[in-house]
Amino acid sequence: MTQTEYLIVAIIILVVLAVTFIVSFVLYKRTPKPKGCEDIEISEEKCAGCNNESCAFYKEKDSIEVLKNKKEEK
């Protein structure tokens, strides 16, 4: 194969990869969670390691303390 042909193949592969990523991303979002896992992300599996609000696992740092304070106020 000449280099031009290689280049065309490479570009096709990159485009295919991008399309795969976008399609699988959308499909992943649309697929409902399997049975028994609906509330799994709300409970204990979230992390407070960093303050990245856009992360799917973001949990407010002091949420436990906030809850406690609310209880005390009541």
Binding site: A18, F21, I22, F25, V26, K29, G49, C50, N51, N52, E53, S54, C55
Partner: protein
Amino acid sequence: MKREKGQTKKNFLKGIIQENPLLVSILGTCPALATTKSLEAAIGMGILFTIVLLCSNVLVSLLRKLIPDEIRTPAYIVIIATFVTMVKMFANAFLPELYSTLGVFISLIVVNCIVLGRAEAYASKNTVFDSFIDGLGMGVGYTMALCIMAFFRELIGTGGFTFGQIFTFIPYTALIIPGAENFKISVFQNPAGAFIVFGLILAVMAFYKNRKAEMKAWEIKQAKLKAAEDAKKKLEAQKANVGGQQ
């Protein structure tokens, strides 16, 4: 929409102090620990990072009405990867020493949470100018945080600072404190030192935050006590008044 006065300045400063990406939000820790061996490398990393953040913020906010909501994240990742490739080639061509020192960590800007986080949280909702200022503030804040870490690591680890090894266009200068070679702690140049310095900086930040909260609680308590006392005095005065009248 009318702009408030001083909003731009506020927008710029929040990235440096209140929302510092490294010291407050604890984002982008990987390059912060790996590239802070020397002050020069930290500055270089900070500059490259700022360029990527600025470009991606501006482009994302330019395209914010064109990109469908559902495929936002993939589009941002591709945009950021493109800019990182450009910055990588730029560094390879003009600053080869910096390129070889930082190594794979230039590529790793792609997966840095700060760039993607700012694109999603800020640039996708705000105007081009605001996003530019936000990116500049965040970039400068990150660079300053890197410099703070590198300052302590290089000072304690080697006993001074050397310049001119990575940015070859400035003359080579070594500012070593006389007699400090005998007292340097070389573990601070090793990976373990990075963890220690970062942990101690975070502890100092937490200490001041705790103290501030305690002061505030104390002030509130004092104000409450004073208010209660005042009310008591008033009541007594009233009683005395009533007694006097009788």
